[in-house]
């Protein structure tokens, strides 16, 4: 049995697990502080702030109008797009 490696691994286990716990406990603590600070200084949700993910899938109004115009022309005004999504 390699006692030197075993000892070092045991030491790393103690330090490693303790550090991971500390980091996550810090994140929990400061996360809670952050929640309180945001509640105090920014109490209202801004309505016009869609996330990047949401805006990426949205289609510009002009583009939607152009797509609809093309569909109307092709179908002789019988159909139009109800929902346009980026895929």
């Amino acid at each position: 049995m390699n006692f030197e490696n075993f000892g070092q691994s045991l030491q790393l286990m103690g330090i490693g697990l303790a550090t991971v716990f500390c980091v996550l406990l810090f994140i929990i603590f400061f996360g809670n502080v952050l929640i309180k600070l945001v509640n105090k200084f920014f109490p209202e949700e801004e309505k016009a702030a869609p996330s990047a993910a949401a805006s990426a899938s949205a289609v510009d109004a002009n583009v939607a109008q152009a797509i609809n115009a093309a569909i109307m022309k092709l179908t002789g005004g019988k159909s139009k797009a109800e929902k346009i999504e980026r895929i």
């Binding site: 070092q8 790393l12 490693g16 991971v20 500390c22 996360g31 945001v38 209202e44 949700e45 801004e46």
Partner: protein, 427 residues
């Protein structure tokens, strides 16, 4: 005529296959991995490029296999990071002095060793791609469920137990650097495993990456197995929503949008101060998340990080990692140790999270479903989905997905921090 046939035979790879049939084993392995990726859909986005990398690297004479840099003695003189070519000669300059691969320019690597070695040493060995992929992962991660159940994030730490438990065992069979690289498979995070192995034991990169991604693909099998062995039916029936009603939280969220923007900045700062070696992973993860949460003003950056850059990085990472799995690097006893050790690390990590929940349940009135501990490993969001399915099997009203996502996302941070610690102590 005989001479022409001999020349044609020499041109093809047939002679090499006859000389060294091990190549055939590697090619069959590549076919098997391609089958798993394509037909069985085991992490196809990564397993397919890795498997194809294995395939093209193992055609003798193709020049697509990545050469390992090892210290070599020639005429009694030690040369660092020398490369032994496939014909057994050492890659040397005109005076016969072996090149140190880290001291030569990339064009020379491309010219002498081929394009795959160029890509490997420029993109992978430099440590560039894993943090880039972390940026993409961050852009696709929502920290909302974690912020709503912040206390549950602590289980992301419990589930790192497997890393250090297997380090203890592996240190008896491997060097400490190799043992650290093997143990990090327990973090259940592919880019983290690759990043750590590159720093500690780059010669084991191929098998470790394959083991890490294979076990991540097997989360739907491994998590239920460990849960079945360690949890009672009563524990699995703990309904988190009912517990929330019994013991309501005083926390309220008035502006989640601003909170989500400030959170990645705060986490990066905390991790950078405590474990600087983890910043390249956690920092990029949080940067990716920040550009997602800012919204319209950074949507172009978000699009690049989560689509183009991440996809390109995934292709090169997969192909290059696969190309490191040559006959010499893969067909040895260490690979068996990695496969077995990786499984143990994975299992112990899940058990570590469950154990922490059980201990906390002993002292707390508000009970927690042990599945939330089981998802403390990083495999996001698959581990949470699997845990949710298990909970629903025992109680069809018990949706634990959002709770599991908290420990699951915390697990990503936890495994990156654990990697930073291993690199800092063993690197």
């Amino acid at each position: 005529m005989g001479e022409i046939l001999e020349k044609i035979y020499g041109m093809t790879a047939l002679g090499n296959f006859v000389e060294n049939p091990s190549y055939i084993i590697m090619i069959l392995l590549a076919f098997f991995l391609l089958y798993l990726g394509i037909k069985k859909e085991y992490e196809p986005l990564l397993l397919v490029p890795i498997a194809f990398g294995v395939l093209i690297a193992n055609f003798p004479g193709g020049g697509m296999g990545v050469y390992a840099a090892v210290d070599t003695t020639v005429n009694g003189v030690l040369y660092h990071n020398a490369v032994t070519l496939s014909d057994g000669t050492i890659w040397s300059d005109a005076n016969g002095i072996p090149y140190n691969i880290y001291e030569v320019g990339l064009p020379l690597i491309a010219h002498d060793l081929g394009i795959m070695n160029y890509l490997y040493y420029a993109l992978i060995k430099s440590g560039l791609l894993p943090p880039i992929i972390f940026m993409g992962v961050g852009a696709l991660t929502d920290f909302g469920p974690m912020l709503r159940n912040l206390k549950l994030a602590v289980f992301g730490a419990g589930a790192q137990f497997g890393i250090f438990a297997v380090l203890l065992v592996a240190s008896q069979f491997f060097t400490m650097q190799e043992a650290g690289s093997l143990a990090i498979i327990g973090g259940a995070d592919g880019p983290t495993a690759i990043f750590t192995t590159l720093k500690l034991a780059p010669h084991m990169l191929g098998p470790i990456a394959i083991a890490a991604y294979s076990y991540m693909a097997l989360v739907p099998v491994i998590v239920p197995l460990v849960v079945k062995l360690t949890c009672s039916e009563k524990e699995l029936k703990i309904n988190m929503k009912e517990q929330d009603k019994k013991f309501p939280s005083k926390q309220e969220f008035k502006n989640m949008g601003v909170l989500k923007i400030l959170f990645p900045i705060a986490v990066t700062t905390i991790v950078a101060i405590i474990v600087p070696d983890a910043v390249s992973l956690v920092g990029m993860l949080m940067f990716g998340n920040l550009i997602k949460e800012i919204g319209n003003n950074t949507s172009r950056l978000f699009n690049a990080a989560s689509n183009g850059i991440m996809n390109a990085a995934t292709i090169f990472l997969g192909l290059c990692v696969g190309a490191t799995m040559t006959v010499d690097a893969f067909l040895n006893l260490k690979t068996i140790g990695i496969v077995a050790g990786g499984f143990l690390a994975f299992g112990f990590s899940i058990f570590g999270g469950i154990l922490l929940v059980k201990i906390m349940n002993l002292f707390s009135k508000k009970k927690i479903n042990p599945l939330i501990g089981a998802t403390g490993l990083s495999a996001v969001p698959m581990a949470s989905r699997v845990a949710n399915d298990i909970a629903l099997k025992y109680d069809s009203r018990n949706h634990v997905l959002n709770y599991c996502m908290s420990s699951n996302v915390a697990g990503v941070i936890g495994s990156a921090v654990a990697a930073g610690i291993l690199i800092s102590f063993l690197g």
